[in-house]
Amino acid sequence: MPSLGSDMEAGTLVQWLKHPGDAVKRGDIIAVVDTQKGAIEIEVFEEGVIESVQIKQGEKVPVGTVLAMIRGTGPERPRVPAATAPPSAPAREGPPTPAAVSAPQKRPHEEPSRLRVSPLARKLAADLGVDVTQVEGTGSGGAITREDVERAAAALKTSAAHKPSAPTARAGDMRAAIASAMARSKREIPHYYLSSTIDMSGSLAWLRAENEKRPVAERLLPVALLIKAVGLALREVPELNGYWIDGAFREGTGVHVGCAISLRGGGLVAPGLHDADRMDLGTLMRQLTDLVARARTGSLKSSDLADPTITVTNLGDQGAEAAFGIIYPPQVALVGFGKIAERPWVCSGKIEARPLLTATLSADHRATDGHRGGAFLAAVDRLLQAPEKL
């Protein structure tokens, strides 16, 4: 039973479209499976003859369950199980098992237990961020070698650049990466959360006037002010800017603000704006625009991802009111900005409609306490009240 999404735990076999004795080849639809997301056709990734089906129509089974056995074709393989292929282990001959239908990336001759990856390839894959389960091995016995990883890394880059809309394997990888980082964060980091409502009327008025003066290509979005304010506030509370490594806080060298960027088709990356506290708003906006464009075309550089010292997630004008984010380890803080919306605000004893912004801080309690977190949000607020100085 293939996994058709990270949230899928089981599926119901609705219908077999192929039956024992039928020949199948790569790409054939062999069954229909019902999941929470609806009925999904199951492709086969092997060539051969269906030897047996293990699951009856209507049966609901967990992800990973063997649905059918496919005997590989080929003259060298004896039809009758011989000494090398005891009847109890038909998988030896035409060895599809779960890999045949559920994991197209895995090769048929592979034991499900452990991928054959050379030590060098495994190390390189880790360095290049390549998921070895997605790599086709050309080494001895189908092992994944350095060249295979390099090819996969290059292909990843190319496919990301040319067809950002349909990188399903990549999106799956990304999901897995997010899952792992976020699960680790929630497991290891004792988060505390603070929020603060900020009156944005001054900032927005200044921005409106500023943008009137600016040509289209140089216009600013509110997010530029927010990031700059975060950068400057971190100078005042540097203990939020850096990493928790080996049981101790290490302050970042420079303020590199990771910007959470959602990708079309799902997923998220948080590349960094280097020295965000030192850039003027025009430069910051230009670099942010460039970063977003590159994130979305899959052409980020390793330097973009290497060393953000904090992350900012900005829900923008379409988003929710507030974001209480999960820290991206080993960073120690994440700043969330909700959408700016007109809401009632008490000013000099009177209620007025003002554009308000909810700023939040998720911080690692091992590195800081709420008092310093509060000081940080207060600084962000204060800085945004004087946008001309940003």
Binding site: S118, P119, L120, A121, K123, G137, T138, G139, S140, A143, T145, R146, E147, R151
Partner: protein
């Protein structure tokens, strides 16, 4: 440029012996049939006439005795060269070599050293059967206190002896019996060579073929076949089996990431096993494929030609192993 002259491995060894006998009066040669008969592989032919029976000494068929005599002579200030007919027969002198030659410097707290050189033939390929054809140099390479070298080229046959004589400790020189007739050009002024370093006999980038002695030629032949298939093999001649030149081996592994070891010794408990272990210890993350070995079949070396051939490492097997290690090229 020095003038090149065609010579053989045997003649190169003889020239080296002559040079040593001329240069250093403390040098003498002893062994079974080295005098009247000219050496069982004819290496010392003519030396008796030239240098006389004091310096070219025939010995009784008693390896333990004359190796022991060599050790004593070395202790007494001489520079003996002892020839053992084959490595199989050297086993009769194991006690002298392992218990005495290798230990006396250590057991005397450095007061006595043994500047002894032992030459012997090793290996198979000439239908001499199991008692004259084994490759036991790997055993000797196990022993601390002695150096083990294996000349595989004319230059090394010519040059290793003098350097070995200069060494204050025992050096065993293993001459593969198929090499004596090897013919080729050698510079007229060829002389002593270092005995510390491995040599790259062919530079390549796709895999490292590590070998020494009698299998160097077969390995180079395999490398040429591989080159025609687009596989660029590096061939390393170990030259020194103890100590191993690990820096040279590791440097090659870090370049090619793949290793095939060719050794006429058996696999079990062997030099090839030791090399693999050390590469894994030091360069695990540089490896891009499991390392492979082409060694002799685990049988006493057979006498019939077809069985002897089948038991020994051959170029075809080296090529096949290299292909397997390199994998499907894409």
């Amino acid at each position: 440029m020095a003038k090149m002259a065609t010579t053989t491995y045997r003649e190169a060894l003889r020239t080296a012996l002559k040079e040593a006998l001329v240069k250093d009066p403390r040098v003498f040669l002893m062994g079974e049939d080295v005098g009247q008969y000219g050496g069982s592989y004819a290496v010392s032919k003519g030396l008796l006439a030239e240098f006389g029976p004091e310096r070219i000494r025939d010995t009784p068929l008693s390896e333990s005795t004359f190796v022991g005599a060599g050790i004593g002579a070395a202790l007494g200030g001489m520079r003996p060269i002892v020839e053992l007919m084959t490595v199989n027969f050297s086993l009769l002198a194991l006690d002298q070599i392992v218990n005495n030659a290798a230990t006396i410097r250590h057991m005397s707290g450095g007061q006595f050293n043994i500047p002894l050189v032992i030459r012997m033939a090793t290996g198979a390929g000439r239908q001499l059967a199991a008692q004259h054809a084994h490759s036991l140099e790997g055993w000797y390479a196990h022993i601390p206190g002695i150096r083990i070298v294996a000349p595989a080229t004319l230059e090394d046959a010519r040059g290793m002896l003098w350097t070995a004589l200069e060494d204050p400790d025992p050096v065993l020189i293993f001459e593969h019996q198929t090499l004596y007739n090897m013919e080729g050009p050698l510079a007229d002024d060829a002389g002593p060579v270092d005995i510390d370093h491995a040599a790259i006999r062919r530079s390549g980038k796709d895999l490292s073929l590590i070998t020494y002695g009698g299998t160097l030629g077969k390995t180079l032949q395999a490398a040429e076949t591989l080159a025609r298939e687009g596989i660029d093999a590096e061939v390393i001649d170990l030259r020194s089996l103890r100590p191993l030149d690990m820096p040279a081996i590791l440097e090659s592994v870090k370049k090619t990431h793949r290793v095939v070891i060719v050794d006429e010794g058996w696999k079990s408990g062997s030099l090839s096993a030791e090399i693999i272990a050390r590469i894994v210890e030091s360069a695990f993350y540089d490896l891009d494929a499991p390392m492979a070995r082409i060694c002799s079949a685990e049988v006493p070396i057979p006498y019939p030609k077809h069985l002897e051939d089948a038991a020994l490492p051959q170029p075809a097997a080296i090529v096949a192993a290299a292909r397997e290690v390199v994998g499907r090229r894409g």
